[in-house]
Amino acid sequence: MRKVLHIALREFIVTVSNRSFIIGLLVMLALIGLFAVISPHVFNLRDFKVVGDVRIIDPTGVVVPQLNASLDARRIAVRRAEQARVALDSVPAEVRQLAGARGETALQAALGPVPDLRLEERPLQADIQEEKTWLTEKNADRPHLALIVVHQNAVTLDPGELRYGTFDLFVAPNLDDRAENEIQQSVRDALINARGDAQSLNRERINAIIQVPRVHSVTVTVGDERATVRGLNIALPLSVAALLFVGVMTGGQALLTTTVEEKSNRVIEVLLSAVSPMELMAGKLIGQMAVSLLVLGLYIGLGLTVLTSLSLFGLFNPWLIVYMLIFFVIMYLVFGSLMMAVGSAVNEMREAQGLMMPLMIMQIIPWILWLPISRNPNSMLSVFMSFLPPVNTFGMLLRMASSAPPPWWQVWLSIGIGVASVFVAIWFAAKVFRIGLLMYGKPPNLATLIRWARSA
């Protein structure tokens, strides 16, 4: 055991002191931090102001006044305040509390400055083709943004009809979608008001009648109930799966490359004079697992720090970390030992590509199935994937992090299957490892590896 630990310690130290590892880790963390800091600036709308002229042909004669009112800066501000309120309503209570009174202001600010749109009414007999040409004319001060042609029956119903007409919208080339949204929303608002007036209906009263705000659902589980968090239900499984993937890939890839390196350096037989192939394999597996756990620990620690600092830790089930670590160990041992077996069978990295393909596919499958499993964690597919090794670890973890976690016996059955798959993978890898380490020359194919495992 002491020798295994010596090998593990060397693997760990050599890997974490490697310049590319340090740079890779730091760069990754820096990129995440940078993204968190600059993304609000990159993706915000604060600097975007819709400015320009809009022409309208209104055969009803009642839409223009409404649209003028709708495009009024104060009216837009009120509308935005309502949008912010609805948006805040849909986020978790913890976020609302954290945001407090600043949340609404911040959301409004995020929507950017109030647009400066000037409406110009055109006569009914205006030639539409000519009006369209106006859209292509250049005007640096006030760009020509759009032409609205209101339908004749947009405000009053034709006899025998149950559907109102709407409007046609022609826009200038390269019009920003945010400007178009602003125009569309304003026209919609104006049409509703005009229709209400035509029916002598009070808009406020109609709004009050049709308004049933979305309530916060409560997820009821056996012995527990808590507020449903939809966004987290999507984000959490994805984050957990990503962490698992990063951890396994970090260790697995290192195992592959160091084994190939030791074999091509011809240092492997020197090592085998001091330790058995199983001791060597175990030492390397443990050493790289420690490296992966270090990486995982850093990412998990960073994530938890962010959640805690945002007072969102309550949304997270800490047991999920424990299960994630259990599933990580299972998955790491399966993929790590198989990748090491591949490394022992080839002479250089280039030759490993063909043998790595099945392993890469197995690691990509959960990403393909992430959405269906997260959306429907108790479907036949989800249950099947959570018991099918070696992807059962991903599958079960996705289900556990979803809104409807599986019963505990399914979790432990999946862990049991995972542990069994670890034994099978290590058995197979050890057989291939023992033969492959001393084999040079033509790289073997998958069938040869299986033959080695059966003959060793």
């Binding site: 020798k3 010596h6 090998i7 060397r10 050599v14 030791e262 350096n265 011809r266 240092v267 492997i268 037989e269 020197v270 090592l271 085998l272 004079s273 001091a274 330790v275 058995s276 001393l438 040079y440 020359g441």
Partner: protein, 326 residues
């Protein structure tokens, strides 16, 4: 005395190729054994089985009184034919790592590493990375890695392959030093003069089979010299009188000299005295039996051998890289 290495009926096949066939071997403790034979004879496979890197299909292996080398790895030093170093690792760290894997404790380990480096003229090289060393220096470090723990048994697989004469001499001295310390040494080589210089016993292998296991003295005695190379002082001297000597079988001309073949059982010293009395020599020497000749005579005499002596001699001189992998 208990054997350091004991093999009984060991057989190993790779596919349809029998690499080692029913090998029996007993190497006593403290011996310096040469494992000789052409490339592909089964030497490396045998050594790997002794080291428990490969496992025999049949037969028993016992090393230092244990049922396998796995149980005695800390008492064995092994320098494989295909040997390497961690190129980015520092020399001192590499030797310390190998020492730890061989069961050495931390106490005094670094001092031991420094001392061993000094003993081969590499004092101060401990901080260098392995990739910074010259080939000769690397080979010294590889030898130190195999002996850092002062093993009871040292197994060297083709230790002289690829070495220049200076490095060869140094390695020979290091091997002898280990032997004089009391270590049992087994080394394989396809270059028979190396074995002749170093070993007190040899095992000859051919096509996976042992064709000879004997002490060098016995070989020299058994394959006693029956040839004398003779060059007369007077180039035109009549040497036909030598044919008349009762101990002489025949005399054959070889360029400027002659080869005198003695009758079986004749004492060379006495014959040489008679020759000097018959024709005055400019040079006369006893042709010592070469292991290569012994090997070829043994192998050629085998029942089912299809190699000609010329082919065998060629295989004994080819480098391991040219040899088919076993």
């Amino acid at each position: 005395m208990e054997a350091a290495i004991l093999l009984k009926g060991v057989t190993k096949s790779f596919g349809r190729t029998k690499a080692v066939d029913n090998l029996d071997l007993a190497i006593p403790r403290g011996a310096l054994y040469g494992f000789i034979g052409p490339n592909g004879a089964g030497k490396t496979t045998s050594i790997r089985m002794i080291m428990s890197i490969l496992f025999p299909d049949a037969g028993e292996v016992s090393v230092l009184g244990n049922r396998s080398a796995t149980e005695a790895k800390d008492r064995i030093g092994y320098l494989p034919e295909e040997r390497g170093l961690y190129r980015k690792m520092r020399v001192g760290a590499f030797l310390a790592y190998m020492g730890r894997l061989k069961g050495l404790h931390e106490t005094g380990l670094h001092k031991r590493v420094e001392k061993s480096l000094e003993s081969v003229g590499l004092g101060g090289a401990g901080r260098k990375r392995c990739e910074e060393l010259s080939k000769g220096m690397m080979q010294k470090v590889q030898f130190l890695a195999a002996t850092i723990h002062k093993p009871d048994l040292l197994i060297l697989d083709e230790p002289f392959s690829g070495l220049d004469p200076v490095s060869s001499r140094l390695l020979r001295e290091l091997v002898l030093a280990e032997h004089s310390r009391g270590a049992t040494i087994l080394f394989s080589t396809h270059v028979m003069p190396h074995a002749e210089e170093l070993c007190d016993s040899v095992i000859m292998m051919h096509r996976g089979r042992k064709v000879l296991e004997e002490r060098m003295e016995t070989i020299r005695r058994q394959y006693d010299p029956r040839r004398i190379h003779f060059e007369p002082l007077d180039p035109i001297a009549d040497v036909s009188s030598l044919n008349a000597l009762p101990e002489v079988e025949c005399v054959a001309r070889m360029d400027e000299s002659y080869e005198i073949l003695l009758k079986e059982g004749m004492e060379p010293a006495q014959v040489m005295r008679h020759i000097v009395q018959t024709v005055v020599p400019a040079r006369m020497e006893l042709a010592r039996p070469q292991l290569e000749d012994v090997f070829i005579s043994l192998v050629s005499a085998g029942d089912k051998i299809d190699d000609t002596p010329e082919k065998l001699r060629a295989r004994l001189t080819e480098s391991p890289a040219e040899a088919p992998a076993v």
